[in-house]
Subunit: 267 residues, 2 copies
């Protein structure tokens, strides 16, 4: 049976709210996802929350009721509460009517089996959690296996990244690694490392992409370090017609990923 919580001072409310903080997420090994669409994505990927909180005011969506029942059957802590308290937990003024607390999956490179997908996204020092979540969503749409995060990236389990991923945080593998460890892992099996750069004349439409392809995108303002570019098997440039000479990092990753996929179409 759900338990009812009507106090902002409740310990569970505070614990859930604390997951908005990266240190707490790391210490607990958990993260927060909000909204029926994302919780449904999780359930459809075989993942149920450890804690589920919802506001029954205004009626519970049949899909939400299913997920609540499934989570409860698996021993989840099920909490009935008010929109105000949900807002406090999620830090949003207009909270979704449901949220879940999930275990963070392992993020070691060794958890990635590159043979399971022809394409993998790799982001270096990506600082914006919205960009990171958008890359996960794009990866899901384009049939990538997952996203590998190099150097100091935004936290893929932050509320903003999870939200922008629209549930792809549950369908895409996520790994974090130092550059040296990534290169060692990459070179231990076949795989082509493709970097997007302004320091090349190779048009991205002209390159040949192998499988599995690892698509490396650099930091939002700095691009890729020269050493990282030197490691790439193939550097390509997305032509820029305008004045600004740059694309948003998540946009560049998507344009590249769809072109890589298009190039394999008649294989």
């Amino acid at each position: 049976m759900p338990r009812e919580i009507h106090s902002f001072a409740n310990d569970t409310v505070k614990r859930i709210r604390s997951l908005r903080d990266k240190k707490e997420r790391k210490a607990e090994g958990k993260f927060l996802a909000e909204g029926l669409r994302i919780l449904t994505e999780a359930r459809d990927s075989g993942v149920l929350p450890m804690v589920i909180a919802y506001a029954p005011a205004g009626g519970v969506h049949p899909l939400a009721a299913e997920i609540i029942a499934a989570a409860e059957a698996k021993g989840a802590d099920v909490i009935e509460t008010t929109p105000d308290i949900l807002a406090k937990m999620s830090g949003k003024d207009n909270p979704q009517a449901i949220l879940g607390v999930y275990n963070q999956p392992p993020t070691e490179l060794s958890a990635i089996d590159r043979g399971t997908a022809p394409l993998w996204l790799v982001a270096q020092a990506l600082r914006d959690p919205g960009n990171l979540g958008t890359m996960l969503r794009t990866g899901d749409a384009v049939g990538a296996g997952g996203l590998i995060l190099i150097d100091d990236c935004a936290d893929p389990f932050s509320v903003e990244a999870v939200r922008a991923s629209m549930g792809a945080i549950f369908t895409q593998k996520v790994a974090t690694a130092r550059w040296e460890d990534f290169v060692t892992w990459l070179r231990s099996e076949p795989g082509q490392l493709v970097g997007t750069s302004l320091n090349t004349q190779v048009n991205y439409l002209d390159a040949t992409y192998d499988q599995p392809c690892f698509l490396l995108v650099g930091n939002e303002s700095q691009g890729l370090p020269a050493m990282y570019e030197a490691e790439c098997d193939c550097l390509v440039k997305i032509p820029m017609a305008g004045r600004a000479d740059s694309l948003n990092a998540a946009i560049a990753a998507a344009v590249m990923a769809y072109q890589v996929k298009a190039s394999w179409r008649n294989r």
Copy 2:
């Protein structure tokens, strides 16, 4: 000569700050842009601010000094102030060291000359200002002429949209229009209306794109209304391999825009 402002209660500080509000922006016909990169983009596009405010603490970048001098020569109100007051104006904890107040350009459809570019982006009910700004930035990179906003979109002159545009708000034309007026305008001269939709089997890689091409992307969660899809000369689908069956709206626009451009490559 710059005038110095050191009071939060100063009228100019309050007036600049009020431009964070859409109603005020509309009433004043002005908007706010922050940061040297965006102000440089504006200057390089021939646009100077009416008011320019900067914090000389820590030194003024030579490029900033140039823009300040150029604006002053054109009669701009030049304000020397503190980082704290800049933060108050821009609403950011870590403000940029410089900001400008600009006149909003005209946004009537009649201000658009479709012959000046082969590609135009069209967004319907796009609600996220970050997506809107990112579409402007992508438009600049891909060589589009501008962005036409249909129905109730986010404000292209909001601080968030201007920031995400990375200066493309100054290089791309922006128009706002009701759907009926857009269609009348569109059909008054040659132009192909291409819609992105899930309700078609035509792969976006297989379609033929004419010039000028108007690329229509729908609302973030609803997609395009059926009536709007019916008006399109060509409906195409970006294949979705994953579970979530959707892309971020700005991502979809970018993947489409780069494919349209690629299809013209060997013309």
